[in-house]
């Protein structure tokens, strides 16, 4: 019966993902993306990765997407932006890429289909993840830390220049 939960979550994830790339309003697209992420968090939980599920909600949906929304609010996109999006989303723009990706999709389905195995049905607890993370993958953690530091510095740099330019504009 719980498999059904998985299928429901999976279809929600699929549908909302499609909606994300077809919306013209950024905020609506973001809401769908968040729903999609929540659905995937459910899938994670069902697959026995509760820690990943929690992280998906806390970090992905709760922090990264907020950042997105924050920027969307700052940009204050109006109806003109929506109209522009609609212009950009003409069929001649999306039909070709969609057909190509569809072909790609069927190729992948063909490759992946017939892998008989099921998942284990056993959850991997947060404790195990933590232990492995700070032993085997310590270097990875350090690297991820550097990456984040670099992103911090980079985004600060971008934002700072932006702010200064803004101030000059106003003043």
């Amino acid at each position: 019966m719980e498999v059904v939960l998985f299928y429901i979550a999976a279809s929600i994830a699929l549908i909302t993902s499609i909606l994300v790339i077809t919306r013209t309003t950024a905020s609506h697209a973001l809401i769908y993306l968040i729903v999609s992420l929540l659905a995937i968090a459910v899938i994670f939980y069902l697959l026995g990765a509760p820690f990943a599920a929690a992280l998906e909600v806390v970090i992905y949906a709760g922090a990264i997407m907020v950042l997105f929304l924050f920027v969307v609010m700052m940009l204050n996109l109006g109806p003109s932006q929506v109209a522009q999006e609609r212009r950009w989303l003409e069929p001649r723009m999306w039909v070709g890429p969609s057909i190509l990706t569809l072909i790609l999709f069927f190729e992948m389905v063909y490759i992946l289909a017939g892998t008989p195995a099921l998942t284990s049905g056993v959850a991997v607890s947060a404790k195990e993840v933590g232990e492995r993370l700070f032993t085997t993958y310590l270097l990875g953690v350090e690297l991820a830390g550097f990456l984040l530091l670099a992103a911090l510095v980079g985004s600060y740099h971008l934002g700072r220049r932006y702010m200064r330019a803004r101030r000059e504009e106003i003043g």
């Binding site: 309003t25 905020s27 609506h28 809401i31 968040i34 509760p50 820690f51 599920a53 929690a54 992280l55 909600v57 806390v58 949906a61 709760g62 922090a63 907020v66 950042l67 929304l69 924050f70 969307v72 609010m73 700052m74 204050n76 607890s125 947060a126 404790k127």
Partner: protein
Amino acid sequence: MEVGFIMILPLVVGAMLGALVLVWWERRLLAFLQDRLGPNRLGPFGVGQMVADLIKLITKHDWVPPFADRVVFTLAPVAIVAAMLMGFAIVPFAPGWHIIDLNIGLLFFLAMTSLAVYGVLLAGLASNNKYSLLGGLRSAAQMVTYEVFMGLSIMGVVILTGSFNMSEIVRAQEDLWFFIPQVLGFVVFLIAGIAEAHRAPFDLPEAEHELVAGFHTEYSGMKFALVMVGEYLSVILTSAIIVTLFFGGWLGPDFLPPIIWFSLKTGLFICFFVLLRAAIPRPRYDQLMSLGWKILLPITLLNLLVTGAVVLLAKG
């Protein structure tokens, strides 16, 4: 995975009623703290006030501004209340009195508080009003910021307990309530909790003096009521979590049942929230941010470092 389905209905009803009572109780207590009387005209001690407020809110014109994003505008207050109610799912009121005893209970709480941001954010965005937008922006930055410290501050508790499970955390405090070893964590969590609930003094997203009513400027009627209920629910939830994490949850001398102990402690913290509102002025926005990043972050990191070191030393 045990789910206490029977608990759902009483909990939802109880939480809603609690929020309703809190409407009255906050005004009353606030008044006493300010040497006033507060609402006292309706019913004994003015308890009828909450019914009156409820009737007023129900019968008020539920207006959606024509310039607003209709769907999002309607969904936002629902999101606020839903996230908060979900948060109650992992609270252990007494031994066995919980909806779900998740292994990652604490993470679930964090996840729910982080989802609650969306209600506020979307409300601000969908209102299409400059005050609402500014309120939304403020709450986004504030809540994302304070979520970091909130998460980090309770890691000390997790280290001490070795689990994210709420019931285990409570049981781990049988000898000593965690607010003694984790006093720094408690302080940070308390402050972050206030900020997450955007209660005074950290109610900058709705600061009346600057932003009319912040993100809920355009709300009226039952939608407004939901926003307010969401706020009171978050007060109750934060108090309940503080009690669970740092004050031994249901634990207490035997002469009272555990649920009473839990309720008493929670009520005390709710009153403390009201006291804060009565006493502390609202900081400036940049002060709020620098408090977070320049004071609370080092404190939590220090707390985490010391706790980890002590635990390692005790084990080693």
